[in-house]
Symmetry: C2
Subunit: 312 residues, 2 copies
């Protein structure tokens, strides 16, 4: 049932409580691995390496399963599922963490099922970098390893994070995190400094302003965000971007620069759907045709007409 | 000597005193009409309608003249030239006005020389909307009138500003101003609300994040900014954008949507040069070849390769 290039993801599966300027939601399905998996499943099967508590309802497991998400690597432990509570400011680009309850995450020791170790495409979603390293140690010969991180690890576990960065091909973070990591405020300077931490390419996500790629050989590729009238909840936008991005690459099995550019556009489009609803409500109903239609719109909104792609 | 489609601009010619996190400059040449003219002169001749005091040095007039900027409409009055003092925050996207001395601007009553009245391409750069209206009243049959504005007029002279907006084809403002004008924080909603103020197309400038066009029939076109490692002084970026934008349109004499998209890219590129130096130092030494080279770079950084511009 697993197609050749499935994607392995490790990260969190959580219950989120979220306050936006317009609404408040309690204990909805969230977590970095959840959003990633529900985005990437549009392209290929996903192997989910995560932990939940015994409070995690069966209907979510069923939903994952029905969406081609392999649950062999999902540990169900005694105790409560990880919980996160956050609040967004008026413009939705700034958020504050109100509460974090690690719960079963504290005892998580990811052990990959044997056939997961051969995975070629791996996403280390936002989770403690020590856990990201433990997953990395079990991989036999991955072709593409991407990772994400967050402010907490940048501040409190920088040396583990830097060990992860030495071993990945792609690093995807938010602009705010890039600035935090480098204490800079210019995106090009921040990017050059981050690129020196390893041999990866870097994608910096700019929220409602798009995303930008920097490679080791100083290539840049920038895209604006898809303009949205209704941003309901930005939670998971970055993971959805990564899911679309890696989903495209894994299903096409090409890592040339042009494929990476196209993958960024797919990531961008899938993230734009994700933020139009709470939790995974939009991702869960999304299909490839809807993605293709918005992608066409996006190209019309961002690309000069072919006859005009010349320098006068 | 004047080519058919010269551009008329009215706005300020000023002495700016500017503090950035890295440097401080006193009494350097600035003003909305100055930046616009020095950008647009790369494409065509410019008719400058503005006022300066008798403290305005001859070498600046000579510099304008040598750059194909027609000075028949520049009034030299008794008194001091308009002065502005501002300070930029660390990230260069936020600025604060410290001082404004209108000086001779208070007595400015723009009277267009007879052959200026026939101008087809007109930019009402940032200046009191009452003065923008007085210039509009003297135009015979313009083909494209664009205008800009600023927080001061949005707050204190909104009804005059709205009168201007009823009479223009294009409105170019910053994202911050768009949010201030509508009390919204979502760019699509803000744009739709602003579009209802007239029959113009709207370009919202997003500083280091690019620019986005909204038309009356709901077409959108978005471009990221050219990524810059050295932002020296953002003053005049918006006027330089407008200068490149209108310069391209006037010199090609086409207002179809594809021409407007290309013009945005030119505006974007010329603004990127402008902010790499103080005052007009970069614009003054810029030539078309340098612009074309960066434009090629920009297309490589933002456009999927032509064979990839399809929806799989």
């Amino acid at each position: 049932m697993t197609r050749p290039n499935s994607i392995l993801v490790t990260g969190t599966v959580a219950f989120d409580s979220i306050k936006t300027p317009l609404a408040e939601m309690d204990e909805i399905l969230g977590g970095s691995a959840t959003f990633f998996a529900m985005a990437a499943r549009l392209f290929t099967t996903v192997q989910l390496v995560a932990i939940v508590g015994n409070d995690f309802p069966t209907h979510h497991l069923k939903m994952f399963d029905e969406n081609g998400i392999d649950l062999q690597g999902l540990v169900r432990a005694e105790g409560s599922t990880f919980r996160w509570k956050g609040e967004y400011e008026e413009n939705m680009n700034v958020r504050h963490t109100l509460e974090t309850h690690l719960n079963v995450l504290e005892q998580f020791d990811p052990v990959l099922p044997p056939d997961y170790r051969k995975s070629k495409y791996v996403f280390l979603a936002n989770i403690n970098p020590d856990l990201q390293l433990r997953v990395l140690d079990q991989l036999e010969s991955p072709k593409l390893v991407c990772c994400d991180t967050m402010n907490l690890w940048i501040i409190h576990q920088r040396s583990d994070l830097e060990k992860v960065l030495q071993r990945v091909n792609m690093f995807i973070i938010s602009e705010e995190e890039a600035f935090m990591l480098t204490k800079r405020t210019n995106i090009v300077r921040a990017a050059h400094e981050i690129l020196r931490l390893g041999n990866f390419s870097l994608i910096i996500k700019r929220g409602g302003y798009g995303a930008i790629l920097f490679t080791q050989d100083k290539q840049i590729f920038a895209i604006p965000a898809y303009p949205l009238e209704n941003v309901v909840d930005p939670t998971g936008a970055g993971d959805s971007f990564a899911g679309g991005f890696m989903g495209y690459l894994a299903s096409n099995d090409s890592l040339d620069l042009e494929a990476i550019h196209r993958a960024m556009v797919y990531g961008n489009i899938i993230a734009s759907f994700s933020v139009e609803g709470f939790s995974i409500e939009k991702l869960a109903t999304l299909n490839r045709e809807t993605v293709r239609n918005r992608l066409s719109d996006f190209l019309r909104m961002t690309h000069l007409v072919p006859t005009a792609v010349h320098v006068e």
